[in-house]
Amino acid sequence: MVELLSPAGDLEKLKIAYLYGADACYIGGKNFSLRANASNFSNDEIKEACRVAHSLNKRLYVTINIVFHDDDVEGLLEYLCFLEDCDVDAVIVSDPLVIDMIQENNINLEIHFSTQGSTTNKESVKYLMSKGISRIVLAREVSAYDIRNIIEETGASIEVFLHGAMCTCYSGRCVLSNYFTGRDSNRGGCAQVCRFVFDLDKKRDIQYSIATKDLNLGKEIPKLIEMGVSSLKIEGRMRSIYYIATVISCYRNLIDAYYNNSFTPTLVKKMMTILDRVANRESSNQYFKGNVNSDDQYYIGREEVSNKDFLGIVISYDEDNKMIVLEQRNYFKIGDKVNIFTPSLKEYNFVIDKIYDEEGNLLECARHPKQIVKIPYSEKIEVSSMMRVNFL
């Protein structure tokens, strides 16, 4: 069965990802990881993440995907030994020095080769396999045709990006951030210069943009599974718990539907609507279809809006009074149509009839972030379920 691989920027997101159906998560430690400005995991948190993962029979991968400068290497060997002791399931690396260090020191860690290496062909895949790499994350520039061919010709365990933001340039082959801002993109400091707008030749009214739409391969799940992809990866270690829960639950639904012979156009349409709504950008299937064109790019007039759909997370259910206990995340009021989706993929749609605060006072609305409120509902709702605007 294909693996659904989720990002996790911290322990809370990790638990949410597993709860909502991720088979595996990838995380970064405080050092050596490309999201240098995410909260990331301390060593103690990595231990805890491993414990959580393995108690749920899930897998945990740790990214060591920076391109090292000599000064960055200090502490790497100890860190690798620590990860071995933690029993992480694999490390995701891009710089071959990490491969060398693991193998020379007989450290028992499975190695996955990061998309930063821009692996785009079967010959490179064969080379990496010969070096003891057990899984290769293909570049996002590889088409469906080539993915299938690479798997057929090499038999490699291949990981493919399924959903999320795209780099404009080949991963690892871009230092725009270094030149524009002094922040090193290959060591986790990327300032996302490809999201800036420019003047082209200083003579055009319409601004020049090189920004891309996001990737969304939801409709392609059957093809991806049938071509033998081992792992489907979601991008976004810096995304919110709501984003993680929504995206993972949608893809869990789609993958399970494929295996249950219920991958219907209706289901796909519904999941696409949810996925489009949670993203702050439009999406396309990008290089999966072959080549990209202007339809896969963003120009002027793009809307990158923050999403206010996430209304709250269920922290418990008051069985005596039949009330959902919710931690508020965005404003909602009596009369609003809401949807609750749960880790076990159930959904509840209803209209907010009453809202109480913790002391039992009746409220007109829930207006304070993280405020604990209670909403009457007759059925027991799972902890960690999410309430959102009912836009379906």
């Binding site: 920076i66 080949y170 871009c174 090189i210």
Partner: protein, 277 residues
């Protein structure tokens, strides 16, 4: 110390030349296999720096065998397919690891040395101290980009064509400039995608002695986007620089070049950061 020229204008002289191979390189100065037949290949390095896709593999194999027969001086490579196929085909031409922005430490250089690679082109985005440190810890030929506009990024996307398509404007030029508050950067589109070029001409002539002392054997000068007359003068300065100039003389040569064309020290004296919190 030897000079390697990345140029389409200078075909003769005592220097080594670096050309991209048509069909397998994103370089600006391209050469075909056919053109190579008539040249003194012992002085020519060939760059195979395109990101290789499955469709490219059969031409790559053919090209490697040709370059082997014609005994070019070395092959600069980006994609691991070049390394892998060279081993399989028992290519006897020195391979030079040229993964642009990934050549930033000596341990990875040593990894590739164990793989049979003979040299490496140091990334242009590290400091002179880091370059010296790498050189002192490895035993392979190092190439340092020393003069010219620098490559900043490579995309498979046709980012000029798609823009002109979007604005419904015809476009014949492959070279444009994109500007924002930090300056004006080059954008070049070819069949394989789009390249982004630095706003400044990098010039590391003042550090020639440090590089020589550290054992750097090759420096690369790139004339792309620079007037031929100016570049001829620059080349003359570098010829003087590599032949026993004092540090003061190097600074004087730098001043001379800057009178011809403004240049910058790039990242030689500037560390990048990556944690901003």
């Amino acid at each position: 110390m030897e000079i390697v020229l990345r140029s389409n204008n200078i075909w003769k002289g005592s220097h080594f030349l670096l050309f991209g191979l048509k069909g397998l390189s994103i370089d600006n100065n391209l050469i075909s296999l056919e053109e190579l037949k008539d040249m003194d290949t012992s002085k020519i390095y060939i760059s195979l720096d395109k990101n290789i896709f499955n469709d490219d593999l059969s031409f790559l194999e053919q090209a490697l065998l040709f370059l082997n027969d014609f005994k070019v001086r070395g092959i600069f490579f980006y994609d691991l397919a070049v390394l892998s196929l060279s081993k399989k085909l028992k290519i006897d031409i020195p391979l030079i690891w040229n993964q642009n922005f990934l050549v930033t430490n000596y341990r990875t250089c040593n990894y590739y040395k164990k793989e049979g690679v003979k040299g490496a082109v140091i990334s242009s985005e590290i400091t002179i101290d880091e370059i010296v440190n790498i050189s002192r810890n490895i035993d392979m030929d190092l190439f340092v980009n020393i003069f010219g506009f620098q490559l900043m990024a490579v995309s498979k996307r046709l980012l000029l064509s798609s823009y002109f398509d979007y604005v419904n404007e015809s476009n014949e030029d492959i070279y444009h400039y994109m500007s924002e508050k930090t300056g004006r950067y080059g954008v070049i589109e070819n069949d394989y995608g789009t390249k982004f070029i630095s706003k400044d001409i990098f010039n590391g002539i003042r550090y020639i002695n440090r590089l020589k002392d550290a054992g750097i054997k090759y420096i690369i000068l790139d004339d792309y986007g620079i007037d031929k007359d100016i570049f001829d003068n620059v080349l003359e300065c570098f010829n003087l620089a590599i032949n026993s100039s004092t540090d003061d003389e190097l600074l004087e040569l730098e001043r001379k070049i800057n009178c011809l064309v403004p240049t910058s020290l790039g990242f030689f004296d500037k560390k990048t950061i990556y944690k901003v919190k």
